[in-house]
């Protein structure tokens, strides 16, 4: 960090200079503008997260790549096209019905790579452990990382371990990064959706988020809801076998399907029109969300994708998805339209319409 042209004397412990953030430069109406502290909403995957990235991280990192906001970056390296992505995992509890932080850490990065059409190959895994955590717990997490990697067909080839003081972590945090090869002729990106594209979701939405909430908050809904956590590279490969010309793919994790659709609509400048009645929402998710005052469209998924597919390929792609175990309940839920560019609009079961917006931060349970 050189502040001027003059060389500064070497220091054993350089004092980092932290410039005060210039909030006047922020062009969007910034939440909590006069209280420049991170709040939980900045991690919710909604508008606040997007603003933090757009106005704080991107300027600092000075990167003008067109795909800089994709789930993964696609890089040309020695003639090969390599997808590269990273993700950090801070879920509580560490183990939940249908998965664990270890499964999420592998599948999260594998899926981010798959959303570029890449065949994931190698992962790194970094573990941040809290002092006092049972070694058996760490072993169980590591075990799940290994098992999930085997299922996803990737190898964990490098890693790192750090321990933080008791009280400074939540037991175990995991970061993974991964690379994979993008096949020739595949150019998937959030900016590529076109008017006429069919919008296809690969199955039931909202399952992971409700599963986590049910264990975290001790809520019971009659039957156990299991996370949908799964690696999606195989499903994407099956779709690419039909046509390499998939326009956009997203795995709607934090922020849910509603946020993913908004990101693509906004990046591509098309309108998205949803047929609300066609969106697959399992009854348990619908009921849980109804009780808590949440909207299933904004609840996290960990084993689902949404695809923007040229209309003449939609039927064949849908058929290929339904053949695959992770796409058996795939459904066309909408189309891209020239009206309301950048916005997602749902047609309700009664024939009325409503805007499907990006949530601000985290969804808040309603009072009654």
């Amino acid at each position: 960090m050189v502040e001027s042209g003059q060389a500064s004397p070497p220091q054993l412990l350089p004092t980092p200079t932290v410039p005060a953030p210039d909030f006047e430069g922020w062009t969007c109406p910034l939440p909590l503008r006069d209280s420049p502290q991170i709040v939980m909403g900045h991690g919710g995957g909604g508008a606040m997260t997007a603003e933090l990235i757009e106005h704080l991280f991107l300027p600092a990192l000075a990167n003008e790549r067109p795909d800089r906001l994709g789930d993964s970056a696609v890089l040309d390296l020695g003639g090969a096209r390599i997808a590269f992505s990273t993700d950090s995992f801070v879920v509580r509890p560490l183990f939940f019905p249908g998965g664990s932080i270890g499964d999420l850490a592998v599948n999260g990065t594998v899926n981010d790579l798959a959303m570029s059409g890449a065949q994931p190959a190698y992962l790194s895994a970094g573990f941040i452990l809290e002092e006092g955590t049972d070694v058996a717990v760490v072993a169980a997490v590591a075990d799940r990382v290994g098992a999930a990697a085997r299922e996803a067909g990737v190898e964990v080839v490098t890693g790192d371990t750090k321990v933080v003081d008791a009280g400074h972590g939540d037991g175990v945090y995991v970061n993974t990064a991964g690379i994979g090869l993008v096949p020739a002729g595949v150019h998937i990106g959030p900016h590529r959706a076109e008017v006429g594209d069919a919008v296809i979701v690969s199955g039931d939405i909202g399952v992971h988020g409700v599963a986590i909430m049910s264990v975290r908050e001790g809520l019971e809904f009659g039957t156990e809801i299991r996370s949908d956590c799964a690696p999606l590279a195989g499903l994407v490969a099956a779709m690419l076998a039909v046509t390499p010309d998939l326009h956009a793919l997203r795995d709607p994790t934090r922020g849910g399907l509603g946020t993913a659709l908004n990101e693509i609509a906004s990046a591509s400048g098309v309108g998205v029109e949803l047929d609300e009645g066609r969106i697959p929402v399992p009854e348990m998710v619908r009921n849980a969300c109804s009780l808590l005052g949440l909207d299933p469209l904004y609840v996290a998924n960990e084993g689902k994708l949404v695809a923007f597919v040229p209309p003449d390929q939609a039927e064949a792609v849908l058929a290929a998805m339904r053949e695959h175990p992770y796409g058996a309940d795939a459904a066309v839920i909408g189309t891209c339209v020239p009206e309301h560019p950048g916005m997602v609009v749902a047609r309700t079961g009664f024939g009325a319409t409503r805007v499907v917006d990006v949530p601000i931060g985290e969804q808040l349970p309603r009072i009654c």
Binding site: E283, F350, R366, C368
Partner: protein, 378 residues
């Protein structure tokens, strides 16, 4: 859980709508009292499907919206104390006080926790005997009984580090306030079904008589709401003004006597100030003398609260049904869910937030000046 899908059936909705269209021969304005009903109406677009003359006026029944600013400021003050764990329902966290909200208190180090049930707050109190645990008890007759239960149990179990910050309000005095306001356009009420689940319907016949106004107890699913509207339209067209129960699968005439006994034991009826509306006589509750030691206002003796309400925000007129959210100059420009000037823009039950979330497409563009358009572009 049943009775969700069944009450969203488009074909049955069509039949109810046909009946409403056939019956209505002139314009009528009716108010849905509860914010949950407003949310459901806007989310499903039910108002778009009604005859042109049938207007739904969105009532003051969003508990988050009407909690007075002074009480929010007290909550912020108490939540900031290092010895306090402050528990609240989720959607109170983003409600703006005079200079901040509970999220900011949390990010500045305050121990603010979202709970799903007030009894969770009591459990937190038992688990943290060295802390003062305060629950923000807001809401109507629906949330009042479980909140009353917390202090009842705290006293019974001798949990002394628990207290309740009470800002409970009652629906019938609000209906009365609306009917006696200098400007009142409301010709019928869709009463809040879940309030009646607790209180029964006994408070309403007197109101229908005194103000010659039909009151239809109405539920929250699309078919429930359409049925409530249908019955109100029939009454208006026939010149009747009666109490009807269109939510009988949930609401009985007596309500829930056990819950009502709990309310009588724990609370006293008092005058309450409603944010954006003002003081409404006998419209709220506070803890009774017997439970005074569990009253957070008493325990923490918060004084010197100096409130600053936005001068631009017109949520008071929205809450009284005098203004539609998008008719406010600040709507969608200076005031958005991300940067709310008033509570009606915060809770998803607030009329302004519901319009912003679901209705921007149909908001008339002439409502905005070019300068505001620029400032609203992200």
């Amino acid at each position: 859980m049943k009775y969700l899908e069944e009450f969203s059936d488009p074909e049955l909705a069509r039949r109810l709508l046909d009946d409403i269209h056939r019956t209505a021969t002139q314009p009528w304005a009716m108010m849905e009292v509860c914010g949950g009903q407003t949310h459901s109406i806007i989310r499903h677009g039910l108002d778009q499907l009604l005859p042109d003359g049938i207007e739904l006026i969105h009532g003051p029944g969003c508990p988050v919206c009407v909690t007075p600013l002074e009480m929010i400021d007290k909550a912020l003050e108490i939540a900031s104390r290092p010895d306090v764990i402050f528990c609240s329902f989720g959607d109170m966290l983003r409600v703006p006080g005079s200079d901040r909200d509970l999220f900011r208190v949390k990010s500045a180090g305050g121990d603010v926790r979202v709970v799903y049930s007030p009894m969770d707050a009591l459990a937190i109190a038992r688990a943290n005997p060295d802390k003062q645990v305060v629950f923000f008890g807001i809401g109507f007759e629906t949330t009042a009984p479980p909140n009353a239960m917390t202090v009842h149990e705290a006293k019974r179990l001798g949990i002394e580090n628990f207290s309740l910050l009470v800002s409970h309000v009652r629906v019938p005095p609000a209906i009365e306030a609306i009917m006696t306001a200098p400007v009142c356009r409301v010709q019928a009420f869709l009463a809040a079904g879940h309030v009646c689940t607790v209180m029964g319907t006994g408070e309403y016949p007197e109101l229908t008589e005194r103000y010659q106004v039909p009151i239809v107890v109405t539920g929250f699913e699309p078919l429930d709401i359409l049925e409530g509207i249908r019955r109100a339209v029939h009454q208006l067209e026939e010149g009747r003004h009666e109490l009807e129960n269109a939510y009988a699968r949930v609401v009985s005439d007596d309500g829930n006597p056990t819950a009502r006994r709990m309310l009588d034991d724990v609370f006293d009826v008092v005058d309450r100030s409603w944010r954006g509306i003002g003081m409404i006589p006998q419209s709220g509750w506070r803890l009774s003398e017997k439970y005074r030691e569990y009253d957070a206002e008493h325990r923490f003796a918060v004084t010197g609260i100096d409130t600053h309400e936005s001068t631009v925000c017109r949520s008071g007129e929205v809450l009284q049904g005098l203004l539609k959210p998008h008719e406010c100059e600040a709507f969608g420009t200076a005031c958005t869910p991300r940067n709310p000037l008033g509570a009606t823009m915060v809770s998803s039950e607030g009329a302004c937030a519901a319009y912003y979330l679901y209705r921007r497409l149909s908001t008339p563009p002439q409502q905005r000046t070019p300068a505001e358009e620029v400032s609203s572009v992200g």
